[in-house]
Symmetry: D2
Subunit: 390 residues, 4 copies
Amino acid sequence: MAGSLAARTLERASFAAAFEAPAYLRSMLAFESAFANAEAAEGVIPAESARAIGEACSRLGLDVESLVAEGKRSASLAVPFVKRLTAAVSAISPAAAKHVHFGATSQDVLDTAMALCLKPCLEEADRALEAAVRALAARAREHRATPMLGRTLMQPALPITAGLKIARWALALAADRERIAEAQSTGLAVQLGGPVGALEALGDRGPAVRHRVALALGLADAPSWHVHRNPWIDLLGRVAQAVLTAGKIARDVSLLSQPEVGEMLEAPARDGVGASSSMPHKHNPVACAHGLAAALRMPGLLATLHACGLAEHERALGGWQAELALVPEIAGALGTSLDFLDTIAGGLVVDAARMRSNLEAHGGTAPGEAAGASSAAADELLARLAGYLP
Amino acid sequence: MAGSLAARTLERASFAAAFEAPAYLRSMLAFESAFANAEAAEGVIPAESARAIGEACSRLGLDVESLVAEGKRSASLAVPFVKRLTAAVSAISPAAAKHVHFGATSQDVLDTAMALCLKPCLEEADRALEAAVRALAARAREHRATPMLGRTLMQPALPITAGLKIARWALALAADRERIAEAQSTGLAVQLGGPVGALEALGDRGPAVRHRVALALGLADAPSWHVHRNPWIDLLGRVAQAVLTAGKIARDVSLLSQPEVGEMLEAPARDGVGASSSMPHKHNPVACAHGLAAALRMPGLLATLHACGLAEHERALGGWQAELALVPEIAGALGTSLDFLDTIAGGLVVDAARMRSNLEAHGGTAPGEAAGASSAAADELLARLAGYLP
Amino acid sequence: MAGSLAARTLERASFAAAFEAPAYLRSMLAFESAFANAEAAEGVIPAESARAIGEACSRLGLDVESLVAEGKRSASLAVPFVKRLTAAVSAISPAAAKHVHFGATSQDVLDTAMALCLKPCLEEADRALEAAVRALAARAREHRATPMLGRTLMQPALPITAGLKIARWALALAADRERIAEAQSTGLAVQLGGPVGALEALGDRGPAVRHRVALALGLADAPSWHVHRNPWIDLLGRVAQAVLTAGKIARDVSLLSQPEVGEMLEAPARDGVGASSSMPHKHNPVACAHGLAAALRMPGLLATLHACGLAEHERALGGWQAELALVPEIAGALGTSLDFLDTIAGGLVVDAARMRSNLEAHGGTAPGEAAGASSAAADELLARLAGYLP
Amino acid sequence: MAGSLAARTLERASFAAAFEAPAYLRSMLAFESAFANAEAAEGVIPAESARAIGEACSRLGLDVESLVAEGKRSASLAVPFVKRLTAAVSAISPAAAKHVHFGATSQDVLDTAMALCLKPCLEEADRALEAAVRALAARAREHRATPMLGRTLMQPALPITAGLKIARWALALAADRERIAEAQSTGLAVQLGGPVGALEALGDRGPAVRHRVALALGLADAPSWHVHRNPWIDLLGRVAQAVLTAGKIARDVSLLSQPEVGEMLEAPARDGVGASSSMPHKHNPVACAHGLAAALRMPGLLATLHACGLAEHERALGGWQAELALVPEIAGALGTSLDFLDTIAGGLVVDAARMRSNLEAHGGTAPGEAAGASSAAADELLARLAGYLP
């Protein structure tokens, strides 16, 4: 759903921009240009054609509304896009026009563009996750021996330490970060298969062309994944896991920041943050709202991703088209989660005194030495987080 | 995810516009204006204040980007919106400024605006569904005795008639249309509860004010549904059912339009519709792609709607905010479905000759008289569709 | 997944039993017997055959394991079931054997049996919901003026009354109950369509036979809904709404029973309830765990229900078979929710003193008169609950 | 939902048995016994106690119905289970009774037992996937140059070869198999954390005990994952990917086995397989029904898995309990998929003549050389499948 206003207060601006028309069209053009260059390098098309295509790509202005209107008739932006690019190339070099998009198919440019749009989001996520893990690991070490109530099934259980709780958050995020990074090497791949995935128009140069395009665009090289999308789904599933971890942390922080509990705040109170339109005294945990909103949306998005993957033959009818609308939303949920993580990385407030008084009030039957075991458990996790600690 | 380009070829333009900034802000202003009028009529605020508020609402220009940027700090557009509206009213009448949004809360204006944005979509859906049912019922009557293969578990079974198949589609859509209409009387309601849903600032005038607002906006009157949203969820669930029916029809049409089967087409072949960027000979069933894409997205959207409804106390943290982003997507999927239905209503091609030849080739063991029973079964359904037939 | 042990502590025994082999087979036999009687009454088969079939149905013993093993070969229990029934009838009257299941198809007996198994669950749910609404309405009236903190976005907002909060719960459950009852008149229907839904073997007696079967089994009469299942999906969607309401109540109660809040308990502490294997002092809100578990499962179940509905032609391949496994789980989630509702109906503890002290501690800026407005709001809801109050 | 009959024709018997009472209880006992041994080896409890516990574990008979009935009161089987085990140990050695489950919590035994039950399923899946890949890779090589229509958006596109299509299936399954195997090294881990995850009762021996238990049970060692479950979710997500691939293959096979297309069958026609209760001539693609049913169920199951992971504090209320019911269903869907894969591995029928005639009839505008490129593309994939080829 493009342009719904109500969604926008949940957006991370950079992630929204990453899939908007300018960025997505730029990615489509980057694909066509890199593809022409690769084909020229492999002798599939003349170098002159590649130059003309590259030149047209670098200065093509596209009217989004007419592109969309035309694209609806084929359920694909690529059809009118290629038509316009071909016209622009033709104006530069009529002979080059027939080499535009030569041997590729709509899905090649649309999927590759999607991967290219996702890439900077994942890079930004990697940095944001790293920063969050660093900040949380430091807080965990600081509070490794700060006793607080452990709570199970929403009731006081036995003492833990704040450091253990925070170290768990940090370690979970660090593992999510690693899992995402790991999956990129196969999941963030160029899509290049041509009409039925066999790159049939490229003769025996298909794999070599594909490899060059992948290198040029900074994506992994892989055989056409038109209808077997699990490396991509696997990558997005790991994104979903990071969103889940952030949501779990948001749930904990929101529970702890109930004033009756009062053990943590997502950040120190700031004017105008978490304000209410009717209750001036309120400081709502608005970052937690973001973290939870993202985590509540993600299971449905992930389910749809899998549902769309049940593709027919060599290109899906409906499923793939729906996925194109879905991936930006999955990235969007990740962006929303990162906004939450940025906040707690920057300002998580830990109230050791309230932790102690709640422990005294509600942890009556707990063995006194438990916090000791808990700080040892925190140390076990901190050792795994050593790379994130100064 | 606002503004993702890739989603746009699946959009129905009117449905997308219904939730974009101009429409949503207009709905928010309509709420505030109607609310001020209602409060004035019930003596809660002075008539002069209502006039000033109405005037400010009628000419307030809002900068969307700054609104969103500020709204992010409270996870709510309403906070900066009310601030701007209050400033505008203050410029007209300082005394009226304190009566802006008086007694209401963010959720009141945001939920009501969402209902107001959804309303014209449902009205348009009602008309489009009616048109689709009329067209399909007519085709069903036309082909009530046209024999074709019935197919079960993707294999030929016994003969039915094309009329029976199409009448089933039509009747299912007609029932979806009725179920949506029925749910609007409770599900498309004004939201007005104030900070904790008790309209506490309005004294004993709360219900009367709410009733007036509902009437003025053309919505149902109902006690605040901040955190008990089932009438709304029920309405959206019925929308999901219509999307499912359209998807099922799209699946059937796409199966029948495989050239090896060749019994139906979504529409006569038209230049440029269903074109491919790489295969000029293709006429893809692009409307079916829309119908299926919408139906594939909807289960996840519906699951998220339910997940978001598990609200905490008197206003949810995360769930409600996520729902605000979700409803336009649910409406969007409906719009996508209607695009499909418009196409088949306008142009469904039925090839009785291919039906007969497939029946002869693959329905060998079927009793000859079955098509007779099937046309009687079609008649039973057509009788229920009488209101849609000329 | 039949027989997983870990699921069983979430089960309501009567709901589990409703879909186990004895109950489901009894329902299948009830269908075949009623169907034969109806066919005899309409002259489709001889009365003697119906008698023989009825007799066989009344005493047929079925070995579940062999039935399942054979059923796997057709993805349908009905195939071996009809074979066994036919053999049993043949032993009574060879001439009657050919009238067993005459004109029906597997889906007819399996869907109808599913509806028959669901029916007593819905009846029990109706009674349990009524009891819960009655109990909660009484508590709401009792506490209509008991002030407590209203909480929004997990933070103290303004005062409400306990009665308002509880009345909202009660009214939401009452509306769910009504919506379920309403949908049964179309959603709990006999399935009878024969191989391709046209009852082709019954000539012009099809609708009359179907009507008799519906009457005999206490189900609604409706044309075959093999592949247009929205009335059924609509009914189950309303079940999902009730589960959601129960989950929302469970979320509230669990938040209020945190000892730092201490305003409610799901029930007075009882020995052995909510116990822990490691912490003898604990009294976990185990009924809330049930209510929340059911609500967490339901969105995915509902999504699957819709996904399965995207059927091919006259009988789905895969979707319908998956739905047969799904419906008992949807009912199971409802049963789990009812266990929660039974508990709070029987024993919800309201601690007015803690409510007052929390209000004093955390509701500082709230206008004193708000609780008054809130009790008026409670009265508005109680008026709608009048039929549930003594 | 334990014991629903209708689900059972979708079950793989070994997978169902893996989570039924005997297997799950055996796993719980294996945990307690290994745990006691590890504690004794680390000097936490006396060796005599471990012996008594081991002896009791080896011969404890448990009445399932009473265990479940009692377990419902704490939403946990572990509470009555530990009680019964303690009584049994006490009968052998009263002194040992206090060492039963010493330092562990309910979640430790229940989660570890779940991992133990899943383990043989994954091992069986690994073997079944390997066999399917081997069989399909061989068929792909055999048909590397067999031309057939490639089909996109459900319409004929350009020629591919049957070998390319089948090699894609095989490679996707091989990658799924690898991804599952890879995730087991972290995702199939012992759960051992004690009440709040810090193993507080074990002093500094916690990690050493945990390591021993992991080794003894053949699971990975990892810090307590009570509420940060992503390695487990990641593993199950990869299971979901395999189910999706199988579903995609089933979709293709079912489309190709429409008699109007007739290019493949899941297996040669066999008596009684795919039979209908009403149409004796039918041979339904019943294995495809299994593959599709599993794939249709999985997105909702996966969504629920993520939704349940949004845990509160040190043990979730509702989410974790729901997950215990869910994992056997996820495994069950995998089992259903494997049944499909077994069938096509054993008997996939490829009709090269029909492929050729359809290509001639519907692939008119396709360049003749395309099948050559396609067989080269098949070779690229076959090279990656070399390890699976003889």
